[in-house]
C-alpha cells in the first residue's frame, strides 16, 4: 500500500501544513458566499467589531459559527469512520453506511414529532440512543449465522438498517406534515443556520470522544492485527471494543444532533489519512481530524455557488463527492479478492 509520508518529521510537517490549510479554508468559508466579504472586512470584524456593519454582523453571527461547526463536525465524522473501520476491519465502514446516522435521525424525528422536545441537549441524548441502537442492530445482524462478522454481511446489515430507519422516518413525516419544516434540515444535513449555541451543549461530549479516540489509538493498532493476536498480547479486547463503540456513538450521535445526516466524510477521510501516514492510528486519528475538517469546509463552500443565492445542503455535496469514491472502493476491494 502506498504511503506518502514515511518519516516522523515528514508527518509532523504534514500536520503543520494541514493546520495552515485548515486556517485557509476556514477564512475562505468566512469570506465567500452570497454576500461578498473582503478579507479586510473579515479581519476587522475580529479586531474591531462594528455592529452597525451588515457584513461584520453576517461574519460574526453566521459565517464564523458555520465554519467552526463545519470544522468540528468534519473532524468528528472522520474520526468516527476511522474507528469504525478499525473495529470492524472493514474499509467500507462509516456512520452513514452502517445505518448509525439513519438511526440517530429516526430517533430525532420521532422525538420531535411526538414529544414536546426543544432543548438540543435532549435531542443529543436521543440521537446517541438512536445511534447506539442502530450500531447494536447492525452488529447483531452482521454476526447472525456465523461467528465472524464478514465485511459483506456487515455492509448488508447496514443497508438493511438504514432502509428500515429511513422508512420509519419517512412514515412519521407523512403522518405529520406540519412537523416536516422543523426536521427538514436534519434530514438533508446542513451547517447553515446553526448558531454556536447549538454546538456548545454538545461540545464537551465531542471533546471527550476526541480524547478517547487519541487514547485508544495505540490499542486500536494492536486490535487491527486481529482479535486473537491482540488477546495473545494481553489486550482486553472486549473492553477496547466497547470503548471504541462508545466513542463512535458519541461522535456520530453528536454530529447528527448538530448538523443532521452528513454522509461519506467518515468513509473517505480515513482512506486519505492512511494514504498520507500509513497504518498507525496514533497518526491516522489526528490526520483524520484535520482532513475531515478541511474537506467539510470545502464541501460547504462549494455548495454556496451553483444555485446562488440558494445553497446546496452540505449533506448533498458530500454525497456527490463520496458516492463515486464508495464505488471506487468497492471495485478496488473486488479486484483484490
Amino acid at each position: 500500500m502506498f504511503q506518502l509520508l514515511h518519516t516522523r518529521s515528514l508527518k509532523i510537517i504534514g500536520v503543520i501544513i494541514g493546520v495552515l490549510l485548515l486556517l485557509c479554508t476556514f477564512f475562505l468559508s468566512i469570506v465567500l458566499g452570497a454576500t461578498e466579504i473582503s478579507l479586510k472586512m473579515a479581519f476587522d470584524s475580529f479586531v474591531s467589531y462594528d455592529s452597525t456593519s451588515t457584513e461584520q454582523v453576517i461574519i460574526q453571527t453566521t459565517r464564523v459559527p458555520r465554519a467552526i461547526i463545519a470544522s468540528i463536525i468534519g473532524a468528528n465524522l472522520a474520526i468516527a469512520g476511522a474507528l469504525m473501520q478499525a473495529l470492524t476491519r472493514n474499509p467500507l465502514a462509516s456512520p452513514s453506511i452502517f445505518g448509525i446516522n439513519a438511526g440517530a435521525i429516526c430517533f430525532v424525528v420521532l422525538a420531535i414529532s411526538f414529544f414536546p422536545i426543544s432543548s438540543l441537549v435532549q435531542l443529543m441524548w436521543i440521537a446517541f440512543l438512536g445511534a447506539g441502537i442502530a450500531a447494536l442492530s447492525v452488529y447483531y445482524l452482521g454476526t447472525l449465522g456465523n461467528k465472524e462478522p464478514t465485511p459483506v454481511k456487515i455492509v448488508l446489515a447496514g443497508a438493511a438498517i438504514t432502509a428500515l430507519f429511513s422508512s420509519f422516518t419517512q412514515g412519521m413525516l407523512v403522518l405529520d406534515e406540519a412537523g416536516l419544516q422543523d426536521v427538514l434540515f436534519w434530514l438533508a444535513g446542513s451547517v447553515s443556520g446553526r448558531s454556536l449555541e447549538m454546538l456548545l451543549p454538545v461540545l464537551p461530549y465531542i471533546l471527550v470522544s476526541f480524547i478517547l479516540a487519541l487514547g485508544l489509538a495505540y490499542h486500536v493498532n494492536i486490535l487491527a492485527s486481529g482479535e486473537d493476536v491482540a488477546k495473545g498480547l494481553g489486550q482486553r479486547t472486549g473492553l477496547v471494543k466497547i470503548l471504541i463503540a462508545i466513542t463512535v456513538v458519541l461522535l456520530a450521535g453528536s454530529a447528527v444532533a448538530v448538523v443532521g445526516a452528513i454522509g461519506f466524510i467518515g468513509l473517505i477521510v480515513p482512506h486519505i489519512a492512511r494514504f498520507l501516514v500509513g497504518v498507525d492510528y496514533r497518526w491516522i486519528i489526528p490526520y483524520c481530524a484535520l482532513v475531515g475538517a478541511i474537506l467539510l469546509l470545502i464541501a460547504d463552500i462549494i455548495g454556496r455557488f451553483p444555485i446562488k443565492p440558494e445553497e446546496i445542503p452540505i449533506g448533498v455535496m458530500t454525497s456527490l463527492i463520496g458516492a463515486p469514491f464508495f464505488i471506487y472502493m468497492v471495485r478496488k476491494g473486488l479486484r483484490h479478492e
Binding site: 500500500m1 504511503q3 495505540y218 493498532n221 494492536i222 487491527a224 492485527s225 486481529g226 486473537d228 493476536v229 488477546k231 495473545g232 498480547l233 494481553g234 489486550q235 482486553r236 492512511r274 500509513g278 497504518v279 498507525d280
Partner: protein
C-alpha cells in the same frame, strides 16, 4: 524470561453446544518441543487456543504456574506465553518492524512508552528470524515463509518462555515448512524455549517433536516420545488410517507410510 508451567485441570472445551475436549488433565513439558497431532476436528487447535486463553473453558481450568489463567491479569499472562494464531492477517501496509514492535505491547504503560529493553528485544527477534534486512518491508510484500517468520518474530519480541503456534506451516511449500521448523528447533535448542505446535505433517512432527500429544475422542489418546508411542495401531486409532510405520532412513525417527491406492512399482502385474 518468565518461567511458565502450563497445566489443565479436567478441562472441557466446546464451541456452542458441541463438546470438543472433555475432562482433560495435561501438563506441558518445559523446555521441550511438543506437537499436537490428530485428525481434522479432533480439537487440537481448540486445545492450543485454550492454553493461550483465547478460548474460555466450559468446565475445568488452564493453570499457569498453579494459578487459574482466567484469574490472572491478561498482560501478566502475555509476559509468560505467546501465541501465534492460525493464518493471521495484518493490516495492509504494516511493516515487519511495526508488526514485531507490537510484541512489546504487554510491557507498555501510559506513563512509559518505549524503552531500550523494548528496542533490544525487537532487534534480537528480527535477527533470530533473519528479518533484519526486510524490517521496513510491508508484510503483504513478503513470501509466505518470510511472513510466517515475521509472526514468529512478533511472538519472540514478547519475550516469553513459552511459544504456542497453531499450524505455522500450513500453506507453505516443503522448503519453507522445514525452514520454519528449523527456526523453532533452534529456539528450543539454543534458548531452551518451550515450543508447542499443531502440525498436520506427521513425519515432520515426529522428527521435530520431543513429545507428541495425539488427540482422539475428546481426550488425549497417547502422549510421549514419538519413537516410543507411534505404532500402526496408534495411527489407525487416531487417524482411522491404515499404514506402515517405518524408520526415517536419515533421522531415525518414526516414518509413516499410509496405505491407499496409487501406482505401485513393486507389484508384478502393474500395467505399464
Amino acid at each position: 524470561m518468565m518461567m511458565a508451567v502450563i497445566q489443565t485441570r479436567s478441562l472441557t472445551l466446546s464451541y456452542d453446544t458441541e463438546t470438543v475436549i472433555q475432562g482433560l488433565d495435561f501438563t506441558l513439558l518445559e523446555n521441550k518441543i511438543t506437537v499436537f497431532v490428530g485428525s481434522n476436528g479432533c480439537g487440537k487447535s481448540t486445545l492450543l487456543r485454550s492454553l493461550a486463553r483465547l478460548l474460555e473453558p466450559k468446565k475445568g481450568a488452564v493453570l499457569l504456574n498453579g494459578k487459574d489463567m482466567n484469574s490472572l491479569k491478561s498482560s501478566q499472562v502475555a509476559k509468560s506465553l505467546a501465541i501465534s494464531p492460525q493464518g493471521p492477517i495484518a493490516p495492509e501496509g504494516l511493516t515487519v518492524f511495526n508488526l514485531v514492535k507490537q510484541g512489546r505491547y504487554p510491557y507498555q504503560h501510559w506513563y512509559q512508552q518505549w524503552t531500550e529493553e523494548d528496542e533490544k528485544m525487537v532487534n534480537s527477534a528480527l535477527e533470530n528470524t533473519q528479518l533484519t534486512d526486510l524490517m521496513d518491508c510491508p508484510l503483504d510484500s513478503l513470501s509466505g515463509g518470510q511472513r510466517q517468520r515475521a509472526w514468529i518474530a512478533l511472538a519472540l519480541a514478547q519475550g516469553t518462555d513459552t511459544i504456542l503456534l497453531d499450524e505455522p506451516t500450513t500453506y507453505l511449500d516443503l522448503r519453507h515448512q522445514v525452514e520454519v521448523l528449523d527456526l523453532l528447533f533452534d529456539l528450543n535448542k539454543k534458548e531452551g524455549r518451550t515450543i508447542v505446535l499443531v502440525l498436520h505433517d506427521l513425519n515432520l512432527a515426529f522428527r521435530y517433536a520431543n513429545q507428541i500429544v495425539a488427540l482422539a475422542n475428546k481426550q488425549i489418546y497417547v502422549q510421549g516420545k514419538p519413537e516410543e508411542v507411534v505404532t500402526r495401531k496408534m495411527v489407525h486409532d487416531v487417524f482411522q488410517l491404515k499404514c506402515e510405520v517405518s524408520t526415517d532412513p536419515i533421522f531415525g525417527t518414526p516414518f509413516v507410510i499410509p496405505f491407499g491406492k496409487g501406482r505401485n512399482l513393486y507389484e508384478s502385474n502393474m500395467s505399464v
